[in-house]
Symmetry: C2
């Protein structure tokens, strides 16, 4: 097993405290002694990217990644061009916020066309890579759990994300390993090893039994059944020693005081991640 | 695409009309002009296997498969032996009901031990095969959707089911392809081709968007986003020409008159499966 975690590895993914604005989460990180944040674009947009960057820098926080670009599939050329524009903008926002990692949630199929979506995703990444390279931003494909295929992502296995990433330079396109999304996979450990230096991020949460909400029903680390320590060891054996984002999407937690959630996140991270 | 379906290919999986007892579903099949039934063991047990078999035969119905054996993982030897006894009994019930296919839902992990569960599943199948062979019953491993891993099955991809099946004689252990469970898989079509003559059953339902219930929220064929005709064509190209079970697990449907559900099942089968 890996050495004991320190809080210095923890990056707070902002969706964990969706009830907070960007300024609020920056202040909350400070109160908790955290040094890294993973902001979401809709929260950044509320204050504007310049102001968000200013506050994050003023608080001495590092941005581990920006969530999220992607959503490539579209029904027509107008939709594809709109997705391209939004993704170029996401790359620019990442650079402005001082992170070199843009998370890509690759978007659901249009209707029944899963294969077409996967083709559009590859083409969309191809179009995005030069702009990302210009700005020094790496693209991190995040496979989501297969139960989210129709709402969020046609890319649902780490193997498929690796297949996509390997079409590009290893310094430009990689993957995010999110334990919640990939833990069920019988090929998990070989695909983590295969990803190797292409692992641009590692996210943790836990799978509650039962899971009553497919999209917003995650648990704090240790509250569920994922072998988190084993998966972290595999990710570290593959060469990753960067930030570990706590991304606990849970709509019940969003009804509670943010500081309570951050405290729980820190405690469960140290104990169970 | 495959030729147009006939109702003679349809087997009514009993869980589609969970509101009905075994005698009721036998009568309902008769009213709908159906010739095949896929009974569930808890419904068979209500009337006893001899009486169930008698009624099914008297109605001239064929049993396409029996749902279900499996649930191999256990926390201790007592649990493992109980699972073995139940699985041997399931094989016997299949034979008594006149079907040569027993569906195996291979059971969830105990706690966090997914790998241990998979090891127990292989060992459990190994212990069951000789008895199944003696009674002329084939074992059909059904991979379930990864969102069901903690409640139902540690086997969640067709690839993994194929890996398991290939350890045994191709006439003894195979797979069930259930479109609802496997449609999301980027390796779907290659794994269907690989399964080939080991496909012992094909099940259909549809994936609703949104899916509001992980376990009991399936739709009738055509109501969702699964490319059912394409998947059927792949299953048929792989060599399967047997019964197609309609297995629409939907708790809302269970509140409605069974005959309405059977009528919808037949119509959507002919139109969209």
């Amino acid at each position: 097993m890996s050495p004991r975690l320190e809080l210095s590895r923890l990056s707070l993914n902002q969706i964990t405290v969706e009830q907070w604005s960007l300024p609020e989460v920056v202040e909350g990180c400070g109160r908790a002694g955290l040094t890294m944040l993973g902001p979401w674009r809709h929260k950044v947009a509320e204050v504007g990217v310049e102001e968000a960057g200013r506050r994050i820098r003023a608080a001495g926080l590092r941005v581990s990644s920006l969530c999220r670009g992607g959503f490539f599939p579209a029904a027509d050329g107008v939709g594809l061009r709109a997705a391209d524009r939004d993704n170029r903008r996401a790359v620019e926002e990442a650079a402005m916020l001082g992170t070199d990692v843009l998370v890509l949630v690759c978007g659901p199929p249009i209707g029944r066309d899963v294969e077409g979506a996967r083709t559009q995703i590859l083409a969309g990444i191809e179009r995005l890579v030069p702009h990302a390279e210009d700005l020094g931003v790496r693209l991190a494909i995040e496979p989501l759990h297969p139960m989210m295929i129709s709402e969020r992502s046609a890319i649902v296995t780490l193997g498929e994300a690796n297949d996509l990433a390997e079409r590009f330079d290893a310094h430009r396109v990689g993957v995010v390993v999110d334990a919640y999304h990939v833990w069920w996979d019988p090929r998990l450990y070989e695909e983590i090893a295969r990803a190797g230096r292409r692992i641009f991020g590692y996210h943790v949460a836990d799978w509650l039994v039962p899971t009553t909400d497919r999209l917003q029903g995650r648990g704090m680390m240790g509250a569920g059944v994922i072998e988190l320590k084993r998966i972290r060891a595999a990710v570290e054996d593959a060469g990753y020693d960067g930030p570990i984002e706590v991304e606990v999407i849970n709509r019940h937690a969003w009804q509670r005081p943010g500081d309570e959630i951050v405290t729980e996140a820190c405690e469960s991270f140290l104990r169970a991640a």
